[in-house]
Symmetry: C2
Subunit: 358 residues, 2 copies
């Protein structure tokens, strides 16, 4: 199958391109490298930067030819950091502008050039927020109050409560893509992904790896702290509970989505995570494996620190996902890797400096 | 009270500015006049163009000083036409870009300069679409399936099903404003407005008036057709049912919203319409008053033409709205006006030329 990857030089974009190439897909990978500008603005840099094949191109204004003849476009071309989006007005504007125009460009090009092309959008479980009720897989059935003694029912999208401006852009992307499917007859899978961890895939001995408070995900940060002999910094009470998955399962999920497309006109939502953890629980696991201490620091975010959380992830089970669950060996391998690159770690960059409410 | 109106040179912006000024409000009105560019692109022009006081300014990039010391900002600064947004890729992009960046600029400025300022956003009943179930006033209570024998409940925003790219931008605006209230503690009223008709207010003997298929609303179009001795063109079966209101009630509603602000941190939704009609029913009313014929033409839109429709409008009843219901005299007055300006009517511009699906 022919696949176009947008945002092909990021943590997930690189690994996805290499994985799909190794598994017989014809892959064109594009990245504008604008993220390096955003990282400079924040004074951070990746711990590890492997080089992979990709073309320089701006997914916001991509030539139509890229969409001709492809089976799927995988959309990673977004500003992916919640703290970056909450940093300054300009950073917030840049996040909205980049993410919205990129997504719009994709649906306009697919509609014009190749309406059968499957749009695979990397969304986030963070679109749902933490509503305090069971989170279904995208849809639920609404029953109205029943005027005229009739209760009417409708399958509808579950409401969203994004917790940052970045997460809000992902909700807005979903709005546009769902519209494109419902009205223009496109087909899309919206992968509501949990927090990804891991630094290794079958194809990449080391993946691109961020450890800083802006672009790093929480488990990756914890293992770097453990490797450096620093305490693991939990924000507030640490009861923040989210879905998580190994980067190997991100790759599997994207492939399963591509190989099992929705029908034309369908907007499909798949919740993409394998386990749920609280931040405190993750810290305790890393502590058990590495002996690191845990410390609580003031929470820079506005979020609940102790709450109910349950979400469905039935869709990928039915598609045959074989999860790589979090075990000690994953953490040990990541800590070893972080120690190898210890001279590149800037400890100050792990401390959160962007506050949700000033 | 001090009010900033963005989009102050449009059909509703002009009338709102004049009404609030006449009622003792201190009004600053801003418009970039970008709509005249959009109208040129579509080859259309207003039937009537009164002149009112406003400053030229781009609400997308407005100086912060405009937000200092105001009680409310009324946000009309959007590309307001569904057909325009579905015309070309460029028109769609311009719609998304204008509407999203304008709304974002407002919430960023309010947060920075004046967080107590009440954001009054003109949204649309079209955000809800025609879901086939009773439409509540913004919120409903979600009950989950009850793992652990407990059914959890949560007040959530009713899901949206916008029917054009324009309507999708209004949903995306709502996402950003709701986020600004929930996370940044701003306060906003999102007026989900029905289709407005009318050409006269207490302050303006004639309002700005569009009759074309792109920027004109349906009843205004019908009366111009009746005045010209043309048949009233109903799209398809004509069973499309929507909420409607007289422009005088738009003014009352905006004022009631401003004078009764939500509390800090609240995102309030008010459904702003007074009656519901199907398009066929509206045509029959105009036919009865004027003797015009009715003809059906192919529907350029992708929409249901025969469907259940019921929506709550309790909020404004409770705030004391005194509706101006549609009666024959309103139609007679509008037809008289259209006859006065008959030499400016270009009949070709009433025919819909933008199709939802090519």
């Amino acid at each position: 199958m022919k696949v176009l990857i947008l945002g092909g030089n990021g943590y997930l974009g690189q690994a996805t391109a290499e994985y799909l190439r190794a598994n017989g897909f014809q892959v064109t990978s594009i990245d504008s490298d604008i993220k390096s500008t955003w990282m400079k603005q924040m004074g951070v840099s990746p711990l590890i930067e492997p080089e992979v094949d990709y073309d320089i191109g701006d997914a916001k204004f991509l030539r139509e030819e890229y969409y001709a003849g492809i089976d799927a476009v995988v959309h990673y071309a977004e500003q992916p950091s919640a703290p970056f989006s909450m940093y300054t007005d300009k950073a917030g504007f840049d996040t909205v502008y980049n993410n919205i125009t990129t997504t719009l460009d994709i649906i306009l090009n697919v509609r014009k050039v190749n309406p059968a092309c499957h749009i695979v959008k990397l969304g986030t479980m963070g679109e749902y927020g933490t509503p305090g009720v069971d989170i279904p897989e995208g849809y639920f059935t609404y029953h109205d109050r029943g005027g005229e003694d009739v209760v009417r029912s409708k399958r509808m999208l579950f409401p969203k409560q994004p917790g940052s401006l970045y997460h809000t852009t992902k909700v807005m992307d979903s709005d546009m893509i769902e519209f494109g499917c419902r009205v223009w007859g496109l087909k899309a899978t919206d992968l509501h992904q949990g927090v990804v961890y891991g630094s290794e895939t079958d194809e990449m001995r080391v993946t691109r790896f961020y450890y800083d408070a802006v672009f790093g995900t929480v488990l990756n940060r914890f293992v770097v702290q453990a490797a450096m002999g620093m305490p693991l910094t939990v924000y507030g009470k640490g009861g923040q509970t989210r879905g998580y998955l190994n980067i190997r399962d991100t790759l599997q999920c994207v492939r399963l989505a591509i190989e099992n497309p929705p029908k034309q006109g369908e907007y499909r939502v798949l919740n993409q995570f394998t386990q749920t953890f609280s931040v405190q629980r993750l810290a305790e696991i890393v502590k058990r494996v590495t002996g690191a201490n845990i410390t609580s620091i003031p929470n820079p975010r506005k979020e609940m620190e102790d709450h109910y959380y349950w979400a469905s992830n039935e869709g990928f089970k039915q598609l045959g996902l074989r999860p790589h669950l979090l075990d000690d060996s994953v953490i040990e391998q990541m800590v070893e890797l972080a120690k190898l690159y210890a001279d590149r770690v800037d400890e100050k960059r792990i401390r959160p400096e962007v506050r949700w409410v000033k």
